[in-house]
Symmetry: C2
Subunit: 313 residues, 2 copies
């Protein structure tokens, strides 16, 4: 793998995690943000990440359940090794560079990971401007959850070196990295990105062609929709539905626990994409109404302390 210098564009929830994890694993990382204001708002996120990494590593000394694969390659790790990993987290934090300059970000970049807002216009503006400064060698990846690389391939000016590299929230713990090209992505940059994902402690999951929702959401969305339909039409309550799934498949979480983690607002926004959701007589309309009522009552999921279930704050 030839990737050394990594640029993460956007310092939101995922952008900051990708940048921190890459630095933790020894890459030379620069964070690009749109404005000085964005850079300032990003700093506390990195302080929090350093705290999470240090606390989790310390916990791993005594509690096997604290183990996160993104932080250490094996659960069997000595106290000395953990202390050196805590040093690595501290060094990662100190090594992070920030810029608002396209030129500075682009300079000698091996990989740019775009994690800016899910707004096609902003993405096109970013890609177009960046293209003026990017060296020929640079691979460009998007972390977009909802948009396809083919949409932006032309705007990047380097379609053959452009693809999607999609992370899950809390990447130190949730190590999926879905890698998906568009029809014009070349094999070599694709393979470089697979190696990079592995090198930062992720588990590369390779898609052979473009798929809206990648693999995970292609499975999760219809699964969660059918669970919501059972509840919204009065067939069974969330506890019974979750229990059925867990008992029958051995899964640790049922669909409503997963929905609480995803968050009901996101779930509602997905639900109303279906035109049938506008009709209260349809199953889709009943699902939307059920979600809207809960959201209206502030029950938006785990982060709010209550969704379909209640959580200790």
């Amino acid at each position: 793998m030839n990737i050394k210098k990594v640029v993460v564009a956007g310092a939101g929830v995922l952008g900051s995690q990708i940048a921190f994890q890459s630095a933790y694993k020894g890459f030379d990382v620069i964070v690009w943000a749109r404005s000085e204001g964005s850079v300032e708002r990003a700093r506390p996120k990195f302080e929090r990440l350093l705290d999470i990494y240090e606390t989790t590593l310390e916990a791993m000394k005594t509690n096997p359940a604290a183990y996160c694969r993104g932080l250490a390659e094996s659960p069997q790790v000595s106290e000395e090794k953990i202390d050196s990993l805590k040093d690595a987290a501290k060094k990662a934090f100190e090594s992070l560079k920030f810029t608002t300059s396209y030129e500075e970000a682009a300079n000698d970049a091996d990989l740019v990971i775009e994690a800016i807002a899910e707004d096609p216009e902003q993405k096109i503006a970013f890609y177009t401007e960046l293209a003026h400064y990017l060296p020929e060698k640079t691979i460009l990846a998007t972390n977009s959850s909802t948009m396809l690389p083919s949409t932006f391939a032309e705007a990047t000016g380097r379609p053959e070196k452009y693809l999607a590299l999609h992370f899950a929230n809390e990447i130190w713990r949730n190590n999926t990295a879905e890698i998906m090209g568009h029809a014009g992505t070349a094999q070599q940059p694709y393979e470089e990105v697979v190696k990079f994902a592995d090198a930062i402690g992720m588990i590369p999951l390779c898609l052979k062609k473009e798929q809206p929702g990648y693999i995970l959401n292609s499975l999760l969305v219809p699964f969660l929709k059918s669970a919501q339909a059972l509840y919204a039409t009065g067939v069974a309550d969330p506890e019974t539905i979750d229990k059925t799934w867990m008992l029958a498949t051995g899964a640790p979480l049922g669909p409503f626990r997963i929905l609480d983690i995803v968050g009901l607002t996101t779930t509602y926004n997905i639900a109303i994409m279906d035109p049938l959701a506008a009709d209260p007589e349809t199953v889709q309309g009943k699902v939307a109404a059920m979600l809207k009522e809960r959201i209206g009552a502030g029950k938006t999921g785990v982060n709010a302390g209550e969704g379909f279930y209640r959580y200790e704050k």
Copy 2:
């Protein structure tokens, strides 16, 4: 609960398991079968079940992973207790009665569980004939996976005491019991059946209204369909899809492992219910073709030693 005498009609895979488990938990069980030939074909099934119960109980003495909740209430069970449970299995086997007579089966029955073929005509003929002999008190339950109780409520002559009680294969290990009435089922018999399911070591899962596929298949079928679509359209291979699901949700099995357990023939029969499966250009058509090819090669799932994965025989 007033249920003491239980009739299980049909001694197929599930019928024999329901009868044996009910007898094991102390109920007075009579197995009704259509003909003396059916009774003869059923006997080896019960011998095999006795062997499974005895072997599993013996294994539980030394191997915690052998524990089956249907066999013992707690994994912490003494050797003496296990020996008494093995006696109970033996006594269950010896206590089972068989008949081909509607009259003998119906006599003083508290609960009849219908587990005959998934053929509406056979079910109607069975219910109609049985109705001549059944005492007023008897509750009648169907184990049908694919048909709704409302379809047969009239034919039973006792719609208010008729409902579905749906088991999973290997009920001593897989303890789900989905309980589903039709609109005319009365509350009291519904609750009796909930108590009965609990009494034979199942976990009652209560549906509040009729739902084709109950809870489990309403979740499982769309989930498995989306996984098959990802593979059949060339997005990713079964191993990657399974890995994604397991990593992201913590589930012990991905969709293709589940499909191998369900069996590809059953999966194919579900797939071709969709008229779009007849068109090879549709996703549904591609899924059907993918399944057909594997079935043609004898790769029908775990029982065949190979499906999407290979299994040690």
